[in-house]
Symmetry: C4
Subunit: 131 residues, 4 copies
């Protein structure tokens, strides 16, 4: 995950958040879950920072969007306690796996601060900026 | 969050706890979740200390009362695992966001030791001392 | 919690475990949850050690048996996430509050390794050794 | 748990994973839960590493397969919060206790990366390599 790519994603996500009129933070991590770039909009509830980083990490470390991760990593989901591994993961939407042209996961993007639906929509706009 | 404000809140909360005949601890934190002031009444179950601090942090970090946070941050609530972020948050009542005259969150107050209902009532009395 | 008291409790609990033909570990902690004495019987599954210590801490820190704690500190129990505070607590039976003649909590005893029912029974025998 | 035994298990498990066409990691730990040997196949989702180690630890520390552990260590299972002890355990299948000829637990093997069903099947092939 190049910084140039991460920056593109952050910018696109921010524009979308402003268009929707919501305040979010956005994190982009590499394939190992380490942060590449991050931004938070003014007025954000500070607890969302850790959330968006964990969403991005979840997607990168498990090669799946956090909304899909949530279906199994919860009580009764078949893999309950998975969400407790790797220092704590996120079992709801807003984390998206970032893939290269060959489908290989190269990182993740996480959005937090708005409704889960909007967080996901903003993340998708970030992803689209790469293609 | 000024110490003078926090002290006012603690005093009012304590008086209310004594009036109700319950033993609680009360924590006031700033907008970033850092402690400003704390008190524990004699005889408190010591486990409640960490609880009231986490309640106050939860409210401050997510700009909402912990009772509202509890509705989403639980299994089946739509944002399950949110309660595991930020070093561990509290998904039940007794943490209240403290706002200034413009509605901006400036901190949180957390109460623990009595029933959740009483903890909330005591926190509200603390909040009221500011206005 | 005096060491002499803790030792009495451990000895009685061990005798009861042997009578029941089960292998357990037993922990006694003071009112602040710090260990006073501990024993583990040969052949114990090592994961039980942390469990019995946490059971004793839970009882001491919240002035209630861990079986009662379990009723509220679980998903849907009204105080979900309470079990995540204080470094991790135990939401099932086998931890018992130790009280002095005036009913004041002076510590806790925790038993793990057998069925929850037997763990509780063994803990009660430990408690009885004090009176 | 000798390294020679652990290596045998890893090799057999890897062959089975390749036969099934899945990408997994495998961890073998000793009776105290400490790692003896580990491998990860190319292309693994990195989050699985911590998972397979925790599966192996869970089996070794509680003398039972993690699929059995999962039945009690979950909300409503009778020992909810057990999965939070010992630094975090795994409440789903793929961790298997390793026993010597006398039935004494000498360690655990954990597999992660495929479906839980396949993870278990691969672990069983690893176990079989010892007999």
């Amino acid at each position: 995950m190049k910084l140039a790519s991460a920056t593109l994603m952050l910018s696109a996500a921010r524009v979308e958040a402003e268009r929707l009129g919501v305040i979010v933070c956005v994190s982009v991590v590499d394939a190992a879950g380490y942060p590449v770039a991050f931004l938070r909009m003014d007025g954000l509830a500070l607890g969302c920072i850790d959330v968006c980083i964990k969403k991005a990490r979840t997607a990168a470390l498990f090669h799946m969007d956090s909304a899909d991760f949530a279906r199994v990593a919860c009580p009764g989901g078949g893999a309950y306690s998975l969400e407790l591994t790797n220092g704590g993961l996120t079992s709801f939407g807003g984390g998206l796996a970032v893939r290269d042209r060959n489908g290989v996961v190269v990182g993740g993007i996480g959005v937090s601060g708005a409704s889960t639906e909007d967080d996901i929509a903003i993340g998708l706009v970030g992803l689209a900026a790469l293609s």
